[in-house]
Amino acid sequence: MLMPLLLSSLLCLAQVVQDKTSVINVKGRVVDESGNPVSATVTVKGTTIATGTNAGGNFEIKNIDVNSILTITGVSIETLDFPVEGRSDLGIISIRPNFKAGEEIIVEANTGYQRAKPNELNGSIVVIDNKTLNQQVGTNILKRLDGVTSGLLFTNKQNNNLESDLNISIRGLSTINGPLNPIIVLDNFIYEGSINNINPNDIESISILKDAAATSIYGARGGNGVIVITSKKGKFNQPVKVNFNSTAILSEKPDLFYHSQISSYDYIDVEQFLFQKGFYNSQINFSWYYRKPFSPALQTFVDKDNGLISAEDYTAHINELKSYDVRNDYEKYLYRKALTQQYSVNVRGGSQTNNYSFSVNYDRSKGSLHEQFNKLNIHIQNTYQPHKKLQLTLVAYYTNSLSKSGKPSSVQLDSKPIPYLRLVDDEGNAEPIALYHSGYTDTIGMSKLLDWNYYPLDDYKHNTLNTRIEDIVANIGINYKLMPGMDIDLKYQYQRQRNEANRYADIESLYARDLINRFTQIDHTSGTIKYIVPNNGILMLYNNIVNAQNFRVQANYNRQWDQHTVNIIAGFEVRDIIRNGNSSTHYGVNKDPLTTANVDYINQYPTIPFGNLGTVLGAPTISLTTSRFISAYANASYIFKSKYQLSGSLRKDGANILGVATNDKWKPLWSVGVGWNLSKESFYQSTLFPSLRLRASYGYSGNLDITKTALPVAAYGTNPITNLPYTQISTLNNQNLQWEESRQVNIAVDFKIKDGTLIGTVEFYTKKGSQLYGLANYDYTTWGYLQQITKNIAGMAGRGIDVSLTSKNINKKMKWFTELLFNYNESKVTEYYSTDAEQGTGLLGNGMTITPVIGKPLYAIAAYRWAGLTNQGDPQGYLNNQPSTDYESILYSTYTDGIKNNSSITYIGSAAPVIFGSIINTFALGKLSASINISYKLGYYFKKPSLSYGTLFNYGIGTKDYSIRWKQSGDENITNVPAMVYTDYPQFSSRDDFYNNAEINVLRADHIRLQYININYLIRESGPNSRIGLRAYVNFSNLGILWRANKESIDPDYPYSLPLPKSYAIGLQVTF
């Protein structure tokens, strides 16, 4: 009786309890894996009760059953059922993105100032995700952008501006004389160190900012585009994740036979011709005076003439020489296969208030010439959230690398690359290379001098350059949420890179022996000697330190209400970059015990063998440069009904290299952008393009040459008449010196075909560079000393199309995706003030440097018109439309008539690709996937190396064309290579000049290249079933050219240097 009562009262109680708590109010916050708020719909399962999360990811639902299950759904997230289980505060609900294998996740773009989804931006930004970055291997992060980045081109051009060394152009050029490098940003700030410091294994993604709407936030320095590198970060609420990665890359020896080089047989032929003509007479007869070594063939000719060897021996020896090819020796004794090993460990994790990422990387390379490179990176990131409104981030990135020089890539005798030279004799002993003729050094030296031979195989052991780079980047960030939607960021970064190089040439090295010998003072009567350069090793030290400090304060405002979304950032930034350098040379250095000796850097001494007076070089030097910037910026965007987007940005820079007037002027660089999500309109009915978005932007960004100064520069001296110190202005102050301006208009369409089988972006842009640095006539009423000064005066224009398409050709068990990149870019000079710019004579070069000619591309080639060979084997051009061999008049006509309307010259075209891009095909079947990248460059020209007799005679450099030169009447019908003539031939050097710059030597550069093949095998997937994930990959790169327009087997990317050898990589990735 008691039992049922008890039971019923319990039930009753339960009933009461249940009644009392059967409905509750719940709240929670939905975030993604990185802890960022997610926009989601929260529905109470089985009911129609639903709500959405706000901008902070928070939601609240009132009066629901305590045992309800909440279903969280969203556009890009996996649906999650979340039981309430009676709790009213559900805390943070972490949601996984609805990423299905093989499908692309949308990676956030990082502009360095803010992060956003690319599809919410109106500017042109390409984001290269981690997966794409890892399709290529190697130690340089930027190289991994090659062939996978729309609008980005690696070039092979020459430039002596230190800030153009990356050889990367984004959407072509924006400047003529300014620096060409895009700016490199690591996470938040411009990276001032060497790009080689950054380890690709530490990098999560890279955003490339291309148009003015994207780059104008970088103000006076964004004109060449911006590459923002985002490092790996920890995430809140994430279990510890360890990633281990190891890669080995093996590169073949380079193809030394790639260049067209005159054969040993032909070279000796030429030497014989010159010997008979008396070309070497002064060297032979006055060897006492001339003192240069003889080539082996020349020595044989002389010996024969002097009756020292018999006719038979002579023939045998010459034939023997003709059979050698020094490149075989190079390959055997100088080169080897290169090996690079990379190891990387990364640990990431995060609790509710803290997240971290810690990684250690080690790279080790042994280069093809025995050079070495070792690098250690340590990356630490920690984010701590002590209060829900406050977040602290600390990041430190440390690099320590050491590189050591290796063997020479070629060996010269008397500065000539003699093709039959031998590095090793028949017995396998290293052959010495004489620096001066032994007949001379033996006599003058009175056997007092040190051995003056060069031993190319061993010298590198005695003369090594060690370069150590130590770089530390440390930054601290504070984020404080002032009020809902508004927060403040304070960021400070300190970077210090120390680049310490030392070259130690010990007493065995040629460098030391040569310098000691040259300065040895021999008393010929007493036979005593005096060393000006101490008879010991030489140590050269170079130190460069970069100290960069950045401070930024930025307010962020982000608000959503009804159908409005507003996002505003505004901030201030101060940058200070100090570069210190010093160099010194120490003589008489002995390493053990460490000793040095004093040297006279001031007085001149007679040198051996030429008797010239010389001073010992290497007095200490120091340098100090300071770059300072103060900037203010703002960026705002407004989205209405998630259909219409309006954005704009503003940036004002002041810098210590700019003129006072420029710094004082309020002349901001700005941009505006609009976006229209057409497919969200109710009237939009297209089923073909279910997603269609139009966007356009217009704006300005700048480019700055930190070597130019607005200050007047003066020299000091003493007036010889009055003995008073004088000051002489050598460069005029330019108060208005300002950044170059690059205006860009960008119009783009983003679309998606049904089922997402084709996703694409097509962008059209025009660029206009104005206020570019250039020499200009100016009103010399101010300062009558010079007629022209550097001003912001030149102009250029560019336009182009960037297309990127991703197609899912087959998306079943077997997958086949194709990504197509198509880029078109054209540029031309619009304003420039020089006679060369008007006449265009600069275009007669090889197209490797910028030669501004109005109306022509910045890299362009013109050439002399070609009228074939005469029946005497002389090259013919045109003079007044008539075939002519008056080379001097043809050459001179460029100076009088320019290149336009000149019958002697024809303009050929751009020397930089007008069309370029790549096709990446990815196949996946089960656990195996493979990507193949085929790149193409079209619509341009290059100049091939051609035979110049002057260069061949004087510098020993010739091409294979020698063997097909004109030899006898009639040959003019089968060859274009002029007959060999001696230096006394009329217009000998002009004949070479004409031929080398004639149109027959300009070839189309168009080619298609197999960029890389990457194969991945997922051995084990980490997931609920197994903690450990295992992935193996192989990569093949530098695989060579698939098609080229030229018939001469020249790789147009490497017309004058050796192409990179094929390389193979194998790697393993372990995650747990």
Partner: protein
């Protein structure tokens, strides 16, 4: 927690405001750092003073040559004329139209730049008890050199001063700042002279009475320049006053009996006691230089046989005479600086014009005694009336100050009072002349300057 929260908020706001204030306040100073430590930007007083010790740009190859080339103290033989470049032929025949850099304009605007740069830099340096001597020197040098160039330029590129039209006649560009981005525009003749006089008077306040060397200006040089300036504007009372002030400071006249007059180079260069301030004519127009032109024969005939200047100034060559009498110790280069002989002649002329005839003749005789061969008795110049005095003084002025860059301005000035000095040339057998007060007395400004600035041409 709520309190802490509030604190965070306040802290945040304070950080933002203080950062903003800090950055904007120290902005200028922060950006004033030199970008490259090896760049030498003249800043200190010693460095600024050094700008004026650069004699190559401040004193030598400087003052206009086009005026002397256009004047009537020399002539060219037909064969010399034929061999000249067109531009120089045009200068000779007063038909010059277009010419470019380098020229009188460019050369004379170099000292103007140094002066303007020094003045702008000086405004940032506090004048203190310890630096006032050097500070004053730099200030005085700047003002003097600028005025000196302006006067040389206005003599060439503008019409003669005429008080009735000076406010509308086109003057030169009065560059008063070192920023070339400021556009050039032509002032009036009135404004030009006003600036020259104002600057020179101010310079006199800053400079020592005499300078340590004649390449640098002094108070005496300022007075000399003022007398020169006033004379060319025909303000004879002021010209008198400043020549008088100048003579009070320096009155040495070189006695030609003490120098080797027959030598090719009879005069010393920088230690000539007559020289107050030293400058040389540029060599952009060389028609009148001794390797090209001969001294006008009618001028030669004006010298008395006992006048030592005849032997000191000229070297005869087949009845023609080449000029060798410059105070440059060089057979070619011409002296255009300020010297006591000129100042005595100015005071003499002005005295005469003020009808102080005895004073005028005294000054003339003081000078001429030192020019006369003292083996022979010297007879004093005497004047019967004002005009007689003026005529004699002007004649001696021409004979004393030839090839000094003064004649062109004298022709313009004297024609303003109807003395009808008409330069004539014989070219290809035809005689051409330049009528008095013709607009061609203001020579054309360089064509490149006109095309860049859009300023009106003469």
């Amino acid at each position: 927690m709520q309190i802490a929260h509030k604190h965070y908020k306040t802290l945040g706001i304070i950080i933002v405001i203080s950062t903003t204030l800090f950055t904007s306040m120290s902005c200028k100073k922060f950006l004033a750092e030199k970008p490259d430590a090896s760049l030498t930007v003249p800043k200190t007083l010693t460095e600024l003073e050094g700008l004026f010790n650069d004699a190559e740009r401040m004193n030598f190859n400087l003052t206009p040559s086009m005026g002397e080339s256009s004047a009537d103290d020399y002539f060219l033989l037909q064969e010399t004329y034929d061999a000249l470049p067109t531009q120089w032929q045009q200068v000779y025949s007063w038909s010059l139209k277009e010419y470019r850099f380098q020229n009188d304009w460019s050369a004379n605007y170099i000292p103007v730049y140094n002066a303007n740069f020094a003045l702008e830099s000086l405004s940032k340096i506090q004048r203190t008890a310890s630096n006032e001597r050097q500070w004053d020197k730099v200030k005085g040098y700047s003002l003097f050199f600028r005025a000196y160039s302006f006067l040389n330029l206005v003599w060439i590129f503008s019409k003669a001063y005429d008080s009735s039209t000076a406010s509308t006649d086109l003057g030169i560009v009065l560059r008063l700042g070192a920023d070339f981005n400021q556009p050039s525009h032509r002032s009036s003749v009135e404004q030009t002279y006003h600036q020259i006089i104002k600057d020179t008077k101010e310079a006199a306040n800053y400079l020592p009475e005499m300078s340590s060397n004649v390449l640098l200006p002094s108070k005496a040089a300022c007075y000399g320049l003022l007398s020169r300036t006033y004379l060319s504007t025909r303000q004879y009372d002021s010209a008198y006053k400043y020549s008088d002030l100048c003579i009070q400071l320096t009155d040495d006249i070189l006695d030609y009996n003490t120098i080797p007059v027959t030598d090719d180079i009879p005069f010393p260069r920088l230690d000539n006691p007559e020289t107050i301030f030293y400058s040389e004519m540029n060599t952009f127009n060389t028609n009148h230089y001794s390797f090209s032109g001969f001294v006008d024969s009618t001028l030669i005939r004006l010298y008395n046989a006992n006048d030592l200047r005849l032997t000191a100034f000229f070297s005869p060559q087949n009845n023609l005479h080449r000029f060798k009498g410059a105070y440059t110790a060089n057979s070619i280069l011409l002296f255009t600086g300020l010297a006591n002989d000129e100042i005595f002649l100015i005071r003499a002329e002005c005295s005469a014009r003020k009808n102080m005839i005895s004073g005028a003749m005294n000054d003339l005789n003081t000078l001429m005694k030192k020019r006369w061969n003292n083996d022979l008795p010297y007879l004093d110049f005497i004047a019967i009336d004002r005009e007689h005095a003026i005529t004699q003084i002007l004649a001696e002025r021409r004979k004393e100050l030839l090839m000094r860059g003064i004649r062109w301005s004298d022709i313009k000035r004297l024609n303003k009072e109807g003395r009808e000095i008409i330069p004539k040339r014989l070219i290809n057998g035809n005689e051409i002349s330049l009528p008095s007060n013709n607009s061609r007395y203001a020579l054309p400004i360089p064509a490149d300057i006109i095309s860049i600035t859009g300023m009106p041409q003469n």
